[in-house]
Assembly symmetry: C2
Homo-oligomer: 112 residues x 2
């Protein structure tokens, strides 16, 4: 997967994953990799700054903990984050559908 294809859609992915409960940064990385069979395999230098950005934006909150001698920073969705996740999903659908129309790809059933 060309990496920078993500541009502008990483937030959608992160917020979506966060909907399934708190994750710490490293776990988000693994979760993304797992859900996509390794297709999306983001470096730490992408994940961590993105999480910080989303927290600064008020969409996530973090809390530190220690597990097995290793410190972890776990993130959860704020109410604003939940709304943003839905909104971004809508935006994604609209975007993908539109691109689909231009490239004349398979009709995408709008059973969204």
């Amino acid at each position: 997967m060309r990496a920078d294809a993500l541009k502008g859609h990483l937030d959608l992915l992160l917020l979506t994953i966060m909907q399934d409960g708190p994750f710490h940064g490293y776990a988000v990385m693994e979760e993304l990799r797992a859900r996509t069979d390794g297709t999306i395999d983001l470096p730490e230098g992408t994940i961590y700054p993105a999480l910080h950005r989303l927290e600064r934006a008020g969409l996530l909150v973090s809390s530190w903990s220690e597990v097995n001698g290793r410190r972890r920073r776990s993130y959860s969705l704020t109410p604003g984050g939940k709304k943003a996740a839905q909104e971004k999903r809508r935006e994604w659908s609209a975007f993908a559908l539109t691109v689909q129309r231009v490239v004349g790809a398979p009709a995408w059933p709008t059973m969204a």
Copy 2:
């Protein structure tokens, strides 16, 4: 449509449109707008630099002409551009499908 959602996908759109014959920059703008019912309405500051970039990359060639007293720069796909268009379409399909899987959106029939 959030503007920067396009990041990394603009080339796909431009090359795809170019498959339907030569267009000059302004016409590409209108074509994109028309094919998407105005959803994708790109400013000139996006279109022209992108076309220049694609020409520098050897995917397009341009030729000047004059129509109704106005000079036009028409672009056509090179053989490399044709290949790139197909390749980018494949990449888009893979990308969109993968995102789709993560966000758990409507099953996308893979009749691509």
